[in-house]
Symmetry: C2
Subunit: 411 residues, 2 copies
């Protein structure tokens, strides 16, 4: 078992990455197209997600019904997701079914029908999804925290807004598709029981006539600290907290992972131990690191009954402060064990590898080899993580609470 990848860039800018995994019978791909919410016109929030929903409702020679039938006939486990930067298409199936799946994917990307009557149906089910989020505080807090902690256009909610969705016209949909579904900036990662040359030739044939379109880069403002409370008649208060970290390509990438791991990686981590195990304040508590291309952000989340939420937030602040006071060798060893184990698991899954290929390429213009990642994990020390924390100390927080009453605790 060894993970070696091949790469090819087509004349129109489309980037292909292929990792043959000959011991598997499955194959998977992740196709990233630069059509995320950050590319929406400010006047059309929700546009990217509606386009993604419409793509499979008729494309090329197939109407909506035929398209669904043909995709299901190939036994494809697939998903379209609107993200901040990209719209992603992921699929996994038997390796033998990969080629017909890619052929249909070509139609979905390049010649979706985007019919007005289908748009109305997509709008209706998106409005239902927006209502479901309003009823689910655990989802809503993350969407609102993203909006508060990432400046325009990075913080936009994936579904847009009910008003935006209601106002959407077929023209806005067609325009977004024409502008954002382009080969320059698109990345296709394929992993599984496949042959590189064969995939390269097929993708070449399928996407050869896709014309690049210039798209100006967007600029993003600085993040500003904030504190907001969303009143909601719930039993629990949901707490979200965000602060700056580093980008995917930063030399401190692994140290940022390390700092978040000390806080929240495994049951021996500090937040888990201090908030849940020692005090029983919460069931859910954790931190996560979200590297983007030009920045990174760390999110902390907890939910606790309203009488214990203030203490929960106090303990979180205390733990963020304590991070800078020192990290033990043992903590770093545990982190390293967890990261190495995750790395090996990922190496065994065609879907996970396809995703890593495409996403690493977007961030780095290359895919980090297994040995390099293993070396970087090995090189982590308490000092290297503390060095990162001194360069990027937790602070200037976005603090968001959702529940019956605002909290008083402060950093």
């Amino acid at each position: 078992m060894s993970n070696v990848y091949h790469e090819h860039r087509y004349a129109n800018g489309l980037q292909l990455l292929v990792e043959p995994m000959s011991w598997c019978r499955s194959a998977a791909f992740t196709f990233l197209v630069p059509a995320g919410v950050s590319r929406e016109p400010a006047t059309a929030p929700g546009c990217a997600n509606l386009v993604a929903s419409l793509l499979t409702r008729g494309a090329g020679s197939r109407d909506s019904r035929q398209l669904s039938n043909d995709l299901d006939n190939l036994g494809i486990q697939r998903h379209e997701a609107t993200e901040t930067i990209h719209t992603s298409f992921t699929a996994a199936t038997l390796a033998d079914n990969l080629e017909p799946c890619l052929t249909i994917t070509r139609d979905i990307m390049r010649s979706p029908h985007l019919h007005a009557d289908q748009l109305e149906l997509c709008k209706a089910s998106t409005l239902q999804e927006l209502m479901a989020i309003e009823d689910d505080p655990g989802q809503k807090i993350f969407i609102e925290l993203k909006r508060h902690s990432l400046p325009e256009p990075l913080g936009r909610p994936i579904l847009g807004s009910a008003e935006g969705v209601q106002r959407m016209t077929p023209e806005m949909i067609v325009d977004f598709h024409r502008r954002c579904f382009r080969p320059n900036g698109a990345i296709l990662g394929v992993a599984g029981n496949v042959d590189f040359e064969r995939i390269r030739d097929i993708i070449g044939e399928l996407f050869d006539d896709w014309k690049p379109i210039d798209e100006p880069p967007f600029s993003v403002a600085q993040r500003h600290g904030s504190r907001q409370h969303v009143p909601a008649e719930k039993l629990q208060t949901h707490i979200g907290l965000a602060f700056d970290s580093v980008s995917y390509s930063d030399a401190d990438f692994y140290n940022a992972h390390g700092a978040v791991g000390v806080l929240s990686g495994g049951m021996s981590s500090r937040l888990w131990t201090e908030v849940r195990e020692k005090r029983g304040l919460c069931y859910s508590v954790g931190a996560s690191y979200h590297p983007l291309k030009d920045r990174g952000i760390i999110l902390v989340y907890a939910s606790s009954s309203s009488d214990r939420a203030n203490e929960t937030l106090e303990v979180i602040f205390a733990e963020l402060e304590r991070l800078l006071l020192g990290i033990s060798d043992d903590e770093v060893h545990r982190l390293q064990a967890g990261l190495k184990s995750s790395l090996i698991m990922q190496e065994e899954s065609t879907s996970a590898r396809a995703s890593v290929l495409a996403r690493s390429w977007y961030h780095l213009g290359r895919v980090r080899p297994f040995d390099e990642i293993a070396r970087e994990i090995e090189a982590m020390t308490p000092e290297s993580i503390l060095g990162y924390l001194e360069r990027h100390p937790p602070g200037n927080f976005n603090i968001l609470t959702l529940g019956p009453t605002p909290l008083e605790a402060s950093a």
Copy 2:
């Protein structure tokens, strides 16, 4: 790549199943112990889950902190879950770390400390978890639907009740552990880069002195239809519906999967098409088949804004009725493609295989070989699925709604 498993039953009744997957670097296990909620005394709802939470808070020579540290040091991705019949322990890590992980697991199972002060902390975080469920209608409807559709003791909520948790004493905890953590009825499935003889000998040494305990089988009443509404000030009405199906060992097992697949397997399925794609009534809609040892149940779920919820339920009833009127060859082909594809994916994951080994053994006393499953999937026809539906027509429903007002639609 081929999936061949080995089995061994120890003198005390513990059942071992091992599937070597030599092309992997990871190993995983699923350990089922007959300590699910169905084994709780009726006076101690929540007992099973509290015991599962306490197991990792000190065991053998390790206190809570040392235990967390040592498990994280092995890079283990692990999870304890209380289920209806079992408490399950799942873990995945590097194959090299499997043996020390099993050694610690022995202590967790056999000699947990179950300290009174740790119990109080577990009670506090469980009460938080119960509150989080009250705030999340999408979770709550499934818990309530299970309670209404599966008779005692199968329908019990995993977390018990707030009153039950508050009342729990250290004596009740110790008694449940002593009675239910026993080798007869326990099943360990291991898959990954492992050697069968070696695992067999290690498990033999670790669990040799575990004494079997007789436990009378429990009897379960018949299911009765019901209709209930839970008033809740939400934007959406959540709809849950349950009806009888067949057990895991039934000759109709694959046909039951097939019937649910026609309703809800993939984007061409009937519920997806009729409720979401054609009418835009919902974002979430689906059906799932839950085979148990002596019975099976099919659950249907949807959530829709309160003004469209009644139509949603009407369409669901109409689709259940239409199932009996006929199924096309094309629908069965699509189902078969999806099932075959899932089968291949599962075969490539050590965690998935470990789970299948243990759970198949519980239900069947054997593990269905890949070729047999592939043959059964191939053998499905519209007639075989219709035959199943005629023997077990959807009806005698448990209907549960949660939202602002009750619905009027009826079957």
